[in-house]
Symmetry: C2
Subunit: 905 residues, 2 copies
């Protein structure tokens, strides 16, 4: 076996950072620091192989292994000039876990090993501090008792509280030395009582038991659950790190703290962190005292500060990344206890990456790979101040968590009526519009509000879709909230909020807070422009925007869009002055009535397109014809019914009553069991050809006009929900005729083409047939995911999907990160069939996945031409597309060998 | 060119039946009869090539062609001893269309060509019958005027009516010779008036114009639409058949009629048909007089009858199939005018096929191919008497046509309340249960009723699914019917039917009739058993049944099922005494409450399975675990709301009120936007593991008990709605543990395996991963079709699907006939991936397509192991499976080369 040839125990000085498999991440970094000559308390590491051996076969660590441990211990004793278990000059030890992949808080640590009645005396003499020594002894017995011997922590805590009461000392006052002596004895009695064994006084026994406990903590249910969740291999095992204790709580010349080599909040190149004078590491974590900023250390302990700065510089240069260090100052001597890559905000990540390239530490490619592209969109939406949010949570002001339907933070007065929202906004008041669900009738209220809160509906509900389109914060489907529209109250957690109450919603997280919260709009990040320019030089994939309105288009251009990949014309039907006309269209009884309504819509749509095409001046604009089912444009059924009742009581023969009845009948007629798979998309276009004909006329009239005014136009007309080549063929023939007619009328020639969405699985299966008509495909991965997985997005997110993620049935929410194994396979197939039939077929992706990094990288891997996403996500796509190129050539072997088995090995 | 080498005109005697491409079907058959020496009026055929040439290039038929025509005409004149255009002994001609594929009624015919003032005299003398000659002349001018010269038929009809009134003769009385002379002149004036040209008196000109008109009729809009619909190639063209006229209206020694070589209604080997003495063929069609049965001819004209019988025998022996002949007796001389394959009922088809094998006319394989397998299921359901139905339609009693949701015919009193339906049935009354939609609460009413009528819902609505399961006639989604449950009325076509009114529904056609109609249950067809036994010897595909109850299973065995391919356990949850327990289960707030409800269901389910397994004794039984969303088991929301209101008024603090409120809340909680893609199938099984665990326990306890009693058990447990291997793995692990536990408890070993439905497109895409767990796949083609096409069955059938079929966007309803190009491709892929991972993977199909012939043949082509369908469709599947084998080896090149392009050419 290979393992038997390896050593079981490594002194820090014989390891290095490349040995994470064997020594764990923490251990490897400690070794590396020792190699660099940095001041690390000496120690050694029992390898992950020892752990696995122990867990699989042994009841206790072998004597042979303990002999190796003792050998390593001798070196530590020699280094520090203290001896483990010695009653005169005792060495104390810590034993910590340290896996290859960090599992923060999941495994065990034991501190202050080596204490017993005899070595206690040595410790008192060593530091000439009796109180410190007893406090350390107390901490040790308690920690060892709970972690190693398995006595519940409550027993010790209860005892301590009880004794304090008995002694009559206040909760936060310190007990005296004699009290602590009593306490230690009482602790030991508890241990004897609970375990039937006396507390082990032998330092050797303590060490063996502690190492075993650390190894065993790899197997606790919470550690297993964590690894399952994080997809960490259970076979890795943890290392155990045995290290000499150093003490930051020996007086005013001692301290302990954490330090970042750069500011993790904003990326500034300053040593950043916190420390506590005269304290142990656990005190910093526990938050008993408020720590000082590290800048204070420069005044208090200038030499130490200087030394720490040098360590920081060397570590950052060495690791070529921001380091997060733990340090302790023991009586004026600095020790570094740990170093690891520093976590940072996205603002900081961008600045640091760019700065490090300028400093020559990183290449541009490395810098780009350092960015979590998905976080970049956070740079553009307002967010609540984190500290204020934390305080609000502490104060119990977090009311509920709904779906994070549209990112951003907003505070305002509760309003339940869209009309009132509009009026309040007109008077300069910030309001949050709260509804059970929203519908097209509410659009003026949505536009006026700072944010939207609904108690029902999923990520594709009306509120969610509209809010995302408008870039307005929205928390949707917040089922803990009971909304009573008649009483105009919101009831949550037993509290009742009336109209006018101040609330705050965080659309980025789905949280709803009582009262106001300070929001910050991230300041312009100049580093980002630099980073994006590097990404643009590298990436192959074009990035377009999903934009429906002129303001969307302007925003998209600002974010670097190279065109519009999805203009949803239905959003143009939703305008306040248009909805009545659209309803006229739907309620039309004859083709003539339908045409009359359409002729009213035509000039409106034409003007939309003129503005849009002017803004995009020459960049490609992909316009999708009407897609949603018609009932989405009709008012809410229950409201109509209520109105109807009132009208009937007034006078059942009046025209208004009869008209309203017609509306109700139409709502019922159009009601669908599964609207997602119903009468929408090109199915509408084929049954009511007038609608698409009007839209195409509006588009081409607009394009001709822009062209006549000297503009440039690149039009791509997209047919939604196609599943059969015959659908596409019929529609395209009919619409091409309209296009030709308009161009003849206006005597102009346009650069245009027709294409199709690929969003019905069948479309992917017959992509070769579709490509005979379509000049481009745009993968509508939202619907394609719904249908391929059979997951209704509205119904699954609040229900089984959460459980699926918890239970690790799914690795990700497939509506956020593309399901590469399923949907991705279908896309690859569609690409192959499509390009086979039409080699120059243009391929894009316009679902929300177009703004998600992993999905964008997949789009590059399968050689799509572009992705299209909402404006705020364009930077995500640009960086992710560059990362895809940096990460190397496409590897499709996995997919290919499955789809085309005969071709594989 | 090949065409120029071919003759343009073929005398009957120079053609034969193999020349349908060139001579059309009718012409080829006429030629064949002449070859056989049968008494056919002489004639000749202008080929389809002439037609195509005329239509593409010419304004008129060339003189050269007309010379060829005249040459052929000479032979006819010689044969018959009459001369075309001769004033003494004139020959009259007919010109008919005749395409390769019959297009009944779509194209034109012109009769009695060759008449003018001169030849009229000859005709009078020829038959010594002035009235006959004038009547013939009148008919000719009118027909030529409308068909050839394009004068609308109404002009002639109006003139005739007007003249009759003027003459003062009754509508049905015959005009005199002088009146007809006036009429002919008046017709000629109308023609001059409308066309500006005099009526062509030249027989040569008449012939040319008539041939041109017949050719042109290939291009009429209705003919083009028909070919589009029937997928007939427009390039085929029609032949024109020029034939000597013979007359059945020359007195009591003349007659005309149609004859089948065997009885087309029941298949009896008797000459069968109808005739009219002294009449022309068009009189038989027009139904002016009631024709006589052919048996009467044996008495009236025994010699002719004998001659006709001999012709029939020779034709049938020659064509080896039932022939449908037209004949005319002209003054004691028999002429056969046409022969074609006789259409027949399915009862007759079966008997004829079997008889012909016994007679040595056909092989068994040929006999099987003669059957339209899809029609076989009609042999088992009651149907209304066709004649009565026809009369009812004439009488305006057809009220509406809804969806043909479950086949069969039923008559009964209208009842709107399920409870009342039960009471009426208990008193022996036949009732039709009429609802807006049905829900599980109505089950006792559905069971009691003769048939179900609903105004809403599609083919997968509750009523449809349950009725099909019960084999009960159902017309669903009949939107023309307004159902008022409160008033207990059904309003349709402005008529109001109250409770107790007699109505009839035809679930085979979707028709709803006023009043009662006589229904016939088809008698046992002994031929079918023979035919099925031949099919069983040939077929490769096993045929199983979809059966949920013991009575289903018995029926299935009777129909020849080789196992159960789909036992839907949810139907076991719907029983009257079970539904309350199921609701308890759904309303449970804790896992404990859930388990309590489940423990009540367990013994019920166990008993279901015991009976089922006993009945199937050793045949494989595939049991699908709970599939539908839970809300399907809850009562109707509106009803609950009404009840709630009543309870609240009574006393809002009573327990019943609060419980009902809980129900309403649960209904709202479980309400889904797209239930088809929601929280159902294995998603339920994963979130509430107790449910599947109970089901598996019930199954295995039942199986162990049957085994202990000496029975044989072959169990296949099927997990529904799987899309991810992780789903299957988790469920299977968990359920396998239950199975093992039960077997240990009962100390028995069972033959069992787990498998999965393939009904979510993703499942097909990752079939290799699924096959690592699943021992079998069953293609759930209903849901697979819905998701692959994005067609909600409930929403599409009533809406765009009908339009899609009309507009030829789809060739078939994909829920009836499998979409081979789309869904079929996905299935082929799943098969390849699945068998790659597990070569002995068993593959089945259990959607409704399992009982549709074309789909069954596809299942054989892609080498599935079995299909499963409802009991009544089992004969369809058995025959279709045999047909697939007879039709030859699988040809998958089309599919394969598309799915695996690299492998193709």
């Amino acid at each position: 076996m290979v393992q038997t040839a390896l050593k079981s125990v490594y002194a820090f000085k014989s390891g290095h950072r490349g040995m994470k498999d064997l020594l764990g991440s923490k251990g490897a970094n400690l070794s590396e620091m020792v190699q660099l000559g940095l001041p690390v308390p000496p120690g050694f590491i029992l390898t992950t192989a020892v752990c696995n051996q122990y867990l699989s076969r042994e009841q206790r660590l072998s004597d042979r292994l303990m002999a190796e441990v003792n050998e390593a211990l001798r070196l530590v004793e020699h280094d520090l000039g203290r001896v483990y278990g010695d009653s005169e000059n005792p060495l104390l030890l810590s034993v910590r876990s340290g896996a290859k992949i960090s599992m923060p808080g999941m495994m065990e640590t034991v501190l202050n090993l080596g204490l017993n009645e005899e070595t206690l005396g040595g410790l008192i003499r060593q530091f000439d501090n009796e109180w410190f020594a007893y406090d350390t002894y107390r901490r040790f017995v308690q920690m060892f008792g709970s972690v190693v011997l398995g006595v519940k922590k409550e027993y010790f805590d209860d005892l301590f509280s009880h004794q304090k009461a008995h002694w009559g000392i206040a909760e936060d006052a310190q007990p005296s030395v004699s009290m602590m002596r009593q306490l230690v004895n009482a602790y030991k009695e508890v241990i004897l009582d609970r375990t039937g064994q006396p507390f082990p006084d032998s330092p050797q026994e303590q060490l063996r038991l502690a190492i075993e406990a650390v190894f065993r903590s790899w197997q606790t249910p919470r550690a297993i659950a964590y690894r399952n969740h994080q997809k960490i291999d259970h076979a890795l095992g943890t290392a155990a790190i045995v290290q000499a204790m150093v003490f930051g709580n020996l007086g005013t010349d001692s301290a302990t703290g954490v330090a970042f080599t750069r500011n993790p909040a904003n990326g500034d190149k300053d040593l950043y962190g916190e420390y506590l004078m005269n304290a142990q590491g656990e005190d910093v974590v526990a938050g008993v005292r408020t720590p000082e900023k590290l800048s204070a250390l420069a005044v208090e302990m200038p030499r130490i500060y200087q030394e720490l700065s040098e360590v920081a510089y060397r570590l950052e240069q060495h690791y070529r990344d921001v380091q997060d260090m733990e340090f302790t100052v023991e009586r004026g001597r600095l020790f570094v206890l740990q170093t690891r890559t520093g976590k940072r905000t996205v603002q900081a990540a961008v600045k640091i990456a760019v700065d490090m390239v300028e400093e020559g530490l990183l290449t541009r490619e490395e810098a780009l790979l350092r960015i979590d592209a998905n976080q970049l969109s956070q740079l553009f939406v307002p967010a609540f101040n984190q500290a204020e949010k934390g305080k609000a949570k502490h104060a119990g002001r977090l009311l509920a968590v709904g779906l994070n339907a549209s990112p951003g933070a907003a505070t305002g007065k509760l309003v339940f009526d869209p009309e009132e929202a509009k009026q309040c906004a007109a008077q300069g008041e910030a309001v949050i519009l709260c509804r059970v669900e929203t519908c097209p009738d509410d659009i003026h209220g949505i536009l006026a509000a700072q944010g939207i809160l609904t108690s029902r509906g999923g990520n594709t509900s009306h509120a969610s879709v509209v809010a995302r389109g408008l870039g307005k914060p929205c928390v949707a489907g917040c089922e803990a909230c009971q909304v009573d529209l008649r009483a105009e109250t919101l009831t949550v957690q037993g509290k009742i909020f009336s109209k006018g109450a101040l609330i705050s919603i965080d659309g980025t997280t789905g949280e709803v807070y009582e009262g106001g919260l300070g929001a910050e709009t991230p300041s312009h990040n100049p580093g980002l422009d630099v980073l994006l320019s590097w990404a643009d030089q590298l990436r192959r994939l074009a990035v377009r925007a999903n934009a429906d309105t002129p303001s969307d288009a302007l925003k998209a251009l600002e974010m670097g869009a190279e065109g519009i990949g999805l203009c949803r014309t239905e959003h143009m039907f939703m305008g306040e002055e248009r909805l009545p006309v659209v309803r006229q269209l739907i309620l039309a009884r004859t083709s003539g009535e339908r045409c009359q309504a359409l002729s009213q819509l035509l000039p409106m749509q034409r003007q939309d397109f003129i503005t849009l095409l002017q803004i995009m001046s020459g960049k490609p604009v992909t316009i999708r014809l009407l897609d949603p089912p018609l009932h989405e444009f009709l008012p809410n059924r229950e409201e109509v019914q209520t109105e109807l009742l009132a009208l009937k009581q007034a006078d059942p023969y009046q025209l208004a009553y009869q008209e309203k009845q017609l509306v109700l009948r139409k709502i019922d007629e159009l009601r669908e069991v599964n609207p997602m798979m119903g009468f929408r998309g090109c199915r509408l276009g084929l049954v009511y050809p007038e609608i698409y004909e009007m839209q195409v006329r509006a588009i081409f009239e607009a394009a001709c006009q822009v062209l006549a005014q000297g503009g440039i136009v690149r039009l791509e007309i997209m047919i939604p929900l196609v599943g059969f080549a015959s659908e596409l063929k019929q529609i395209q023939q009919q619409l091409d005729a309209v296009a030709q007619r308009v161009m003849r009328e206006r005597q102009c020639g346009l650069d245009y083409c027709f294409g199709t969405m690929i969003e019905v699985p069948r479309a992917a299966l017959v992509a070769d047939e579709l490509a005979q008509c379509a000049r481009f495909f745009s993968f509508g991965t939202n619907d394609l995911t719904q249908l391929t997985l059979g997951f209704s997005r509205d119904d699954s997110e609040g229900r089984f999907l959460a459980r699926y993620l918890e239970k690790d049935i799914l690795p990700n929410n497939p509506f956020e990160t593309l399901d590469i194994d399923g949907v991705g396979r279908l896309m690859t197939m569609a690409r192959d069939l499509g390009r086979q039939a039409r080699p120059d077929l243009k391929l894009g992706l316009c679902g929300e996945h177009g703004g998600e990094a992993q999905s964008v990288q997949f789009a590059d891997r399968i050689r799509l031409d572009y992705v299209s996403c909402s404006a705020l996500r364009i930077p995500v796509a640009r960086v992710a597309a560059a990362q895809a190129v940096i990460l190397g050539p496409p590897e499709e072997v996995g997919v290919r060998s499955r789809l085309f088995p005969q071709v594989g090995t």
